[in-house]
Amino acid sequence: MQQLAEIRWHARAGQGAVTAAKLVAETALELDQYMQAMPEYGPERMGAPIKAFTRISNVPIEIHCNIENPNAVVVLDETLLAIVDVAEGIRSDGVILVNTCKTPDALRAELGLQGSTVRVASIDASGISLETLKRDMPNTPMIGALAKATGLFEVDPIVSHLKKTFGKKFSQEIIDANIASVTRAYKEVSVG
């Protein structure tokens, strides 16, 4: 793993981005990494655009500020592409992952990133979620897709952490559906 990975999450309040940022950080801790996860707090209401951040490192993390030059950007709601500059500050070797049915090529054009070294990845996380969880909760599939697109984790540590953390709160059915979401998204993400 690289020394410091910085992930910026874009979503609408209620889509579980803060939980996702936290789950990724907790998974990193289980792999004995150092990590931070923080939402950007504002006047939050359901459906409003929000941001959250995750940092992962193999050495202690000292900095406490927003992430302006992320290695990875995760967009849980594609309608945000029209109103938020999700590519802002992304590193030239970074990756932008969007929850969408579009291809990476179509996304690249929409983001105005033709000719850029930034990688663009797409996954139909909402579609997967509707099939597995029977509702549109794209956060856990996006973790699977992020892991694959960035090479941050294998799928196993995510699944084992989900079992551990969700085991306390949710039914086996919901845990299994989330695991299926993560595993499918890990396999199905397309990176262009």
Binding site: L29, Q36, A37, E62
Partner: protein, 395 residues
Amino acid sequence: MPTQKTIAATGNAVVAEALRQCSPDVMAAYPITPQTTIVEEFAGFVAKGRVHTEYVTTESEHSAMSACIGASAAGARVVTATSSQGLALMWEELHIASGMRLPIVMANANRALSAPINIHCDHSDIMGARDTGWIILFAETAQEAYDNTLMSMRIAENPEVLLPVMTCLDGFITTHSIDRVEIMDDESVADFVGEYTPVNALLDLENPVSHGNFAGLGGPFFEFKKAQREAIERSRKVITDVAAEYSVLSGRPFGMVETWGMEDADVAVVVIGSTAGNARHVARQLRADGVKAGVVKVRCFRPFPFAEIAEALSGVKAVAVLDRAESFGAEGGPLFLEVRSALYDSSERIPVVNYIYGLGGSDVRLELIETVFKDLSDIAAGEEAPAGLVYLGSR
């Protein structure tokens, strides 16, 4: 030795955990952003029977601190938590708690004061309370917030001190970020904190006393204040001793002042709270480029570590003091005033520049800290120091 487990948790969660591990008799509190999750978690512990504390819900912070004072005077181990407007509303009670020498422990989630309204981090709240007679500790990280809370209990209740202690952590930045934290087992914490033996407890019916009596003209008021000054001066040694004991137990040292790179620094930043990490990060990068940069973090603001600051800054060519609070109309921010005062007795004439930064949660980007070190390098090379304070990163 204690068993420690590594967890992913927010600053507020581990402060609540530390308070639970101290087994207080009473918590009286009122929720306020960004402190809320401390009292919420603690109320959860009470509801689940994980701590046997009388949890008093009040209708305001004024009442919360009043209830804390009553319970503490009665002889109970008392804790609470607040932030910003809540701390401001406690103001008169803060003086009463210290004047009555009540060892209350309170967490404060640093947040700006209105107006205009703002819920994010700065140190205006605590700096407004700096002369209330409380011992004031600051945390950079969730780990330090946990450690400071446990140490606070021992410092406050030490018979040589008997003063209330406030442990501060930066609103949202530390209170709400999930961080990697090591937590000690309950038994080791209980052994470290120990049983509380109250002094002059109102409920000690064999030895009746009264507290907070009228002490007007000709009364002992003046002497009471002198006794408070003596107690907070004695707390310096107690803080150091408690920290030494805690560091053996936890493996985590605590200094009233903590330095990085100061052995041979030419330029140094003095800072409080979460920004210290940003400053160290930038200083480390500058060192790689050959700049002798150092950082001085103040972890105990009251009593203020004058001697330690003067010693740390000795031999430095230029110093920046970063204040996350204003003192309108003063020469500079609260930390600047203390640091420059600490340097007055030194024969060196070190240029000290004051930067006001991060008010109302304004993001402390690394470039801002780089600017500060750049200014310092210029001053160290002979350029004139800016006159007056600098508003760092304001539009």
